[in-house]
C-alpha cells in the first residue's frame, strides 16, 4: 500500500496520462541494461545486447519494456491494493524467473530518471517525490510473495 495524498495521486495520474507506455517502457528497460549491465543476465534470449545502441534498438527489449510498463500502469489504478494487484507477478518473478528484487528498485529509479528526461520542467521535485513513493510501493509489492 502506498500513502499518497489526493494531490499526489492526481500529480501521478496527470503525468501518466501523457506517457507513451511503449516508448517509456522500452526506454526504461533499455537504460536499465545499459547503466547496470548485470541486469542483462535475465535476457540472454533477447539477441544482441552487446552495446548501448544494440540494446536501445532491440525489438525484444522494446516489446518487453512495453509489457513491464503496462503492468506498472495497471498498478497505478490500484495504489491502495498494490500487494494484491502484483501477487501473481510476484510469485512468477520468484518461482519461475528467479529475479532478485533489488532489480525492481533499480528499474523503478531508472523509470524516474526517464520520466525526468521526458517531462523536463513538469517533473518537479514534488512530482518526483510522488513517483518515488509509487515505484517503491510497486517494488515492495513485487517482492512480497518471495520465499
Amino acid at each position: 500500500m502506498v500513502h499518497l495524498t489526493p494531490e499526489e495521486k492526481s500529480e501521478v495520474t496527470d503525468l501518466w496520462s501523457k506517457v507513451n507506455v511503449e516508448d517509456v517502457g522500452g526506454e526504461a528497460l533499455g537504460r536499465l541494461m545499459v547503466v547496470y549491465p548485470w541486469t542483462r543476465r535475465f535476457f540472454g534470449h533477447f539477441g544482441d545486447l552487446s552495446s548501448a545502441d544494440a540494446i536501445m534498438h532491440n525489438p525484444k527489449v522494446k516489446a518487453h519494456g512495453k509489457k513491464v510498463l503496462s503492468a506498472f500502469s495497471d498498478g497505478l489504478q490500484h495504489l491502495d491494493h498494490l500487494k494484491e494487484t502484483f501477487a501473481k507477478l510476484s510469485e512468477l518473478h520468484c518461482d519461475k524467473l528467479h529475479v532478485d528484487p533489488e532489480n525492481f528498485r533499480l528499474l523503478g529509479n531508472v523509470l524516474v530518471v526517464v520520466l525526468a528526461h521526458h517531462f523536463g520542467k513538469d517533473f518537479t521535485p514534488h512530482v518526483q517525490s510522488s513517483y518515488q513513493k509509487v515505484v517503491s510501493g510497486v517494488a515492495n509489492a513485487l517482492a512480497h510473495k518471495y520465499h
Binding site: G30, R31, A52, H118, P125, Q128, Q132
Partner: protein
C-alpha cells in the same frame, strides 16, 4: 567498475556544459533528495530546508564544489576526497546509504535539465562516476 576513458570523457564534457551553474543543479538535487527521501533531512536540523532556502543554496554550492573537484581529479578520487571522507565519517557521521539517494537525485536533475545530452551511455558514465565518488567518500568510515 573502473572509470574507463570513455566515461571520463563524457563526464568532463557534461561538466564543461554545466559551467558555473553546478551549484544551481546541486541545490535542486538536494531539494529533490529532501522531498523524496525525508530521512535525509535528519542530518540538517540546523538548516532551514524550506523551498528556496539560502542555506540549502549555500550547501548546494559546497556539494557542487566537491563534485567539480572530483571531476578534476578522476585519476585519484580517494586522494582528492580524503578530507571530505574524514569529515563525513568522523564528524558528520552520515549513513553512507544516503549518498546514493543524493546521487540518484543528481542524475534526475541533470536528465531534467539536459535532455539532449542524456544518452543511455551518458547516464551510465554519470552513474559510474557518482558511485566512485560515493566509494571515495565512504572510504574512511571504518
Amino acid at each position: 567498475m573502473a572509470l574507463h576513458a570513455a566515461d571520463r570523457a563524457l563526464v568532463r564534457a557534461l561538466w564543461r556544459k554545466l559551467g558555473s551553474n553546478v551549484g544551481v543543479y546541486a541545490t535542486e538535487a538536494l531539494e529533490r533528495t529532501f522531498l523524496s527521501f525525508p530521512s535525509t533531512k535528519t542530518y540538517f536540523p540546523h538548516l532551514d530546508l524550506s523551498p528556496g532556502s539560502t542555506q540549502v543554496k549555500a550547501h548546494g554550492q559546497k556539494v557542487a564544489d566537491a563534485l567539480t573537484l572530483a571531476v578534476e581529479h578522476l585519476d585519484d578520487l580517494p586522494g582528492a576526497l580524503s578530507a571530505l571522507s574524514d569529515l563525513h565519517a568522523h564528524e558528520l557521521r552520515v549513513d553512507p546509504a544516503h549518498f546514493k539517494l543524493l546521487g540518484h537525485c543528481l542524475v534526475v536533475t541533470l536528465a531534467r535539465h539536459f535532455p539532449g545530452d542524456f544518452s543511455p551511455a551518458m547516464q551510465a558514465s554519470l552513474d559510474k562516476f557518482l558511485s566512485h565518488v560515493i566509494s571515495a567518500l565512504s572510504s574512511k568510515y571504518r
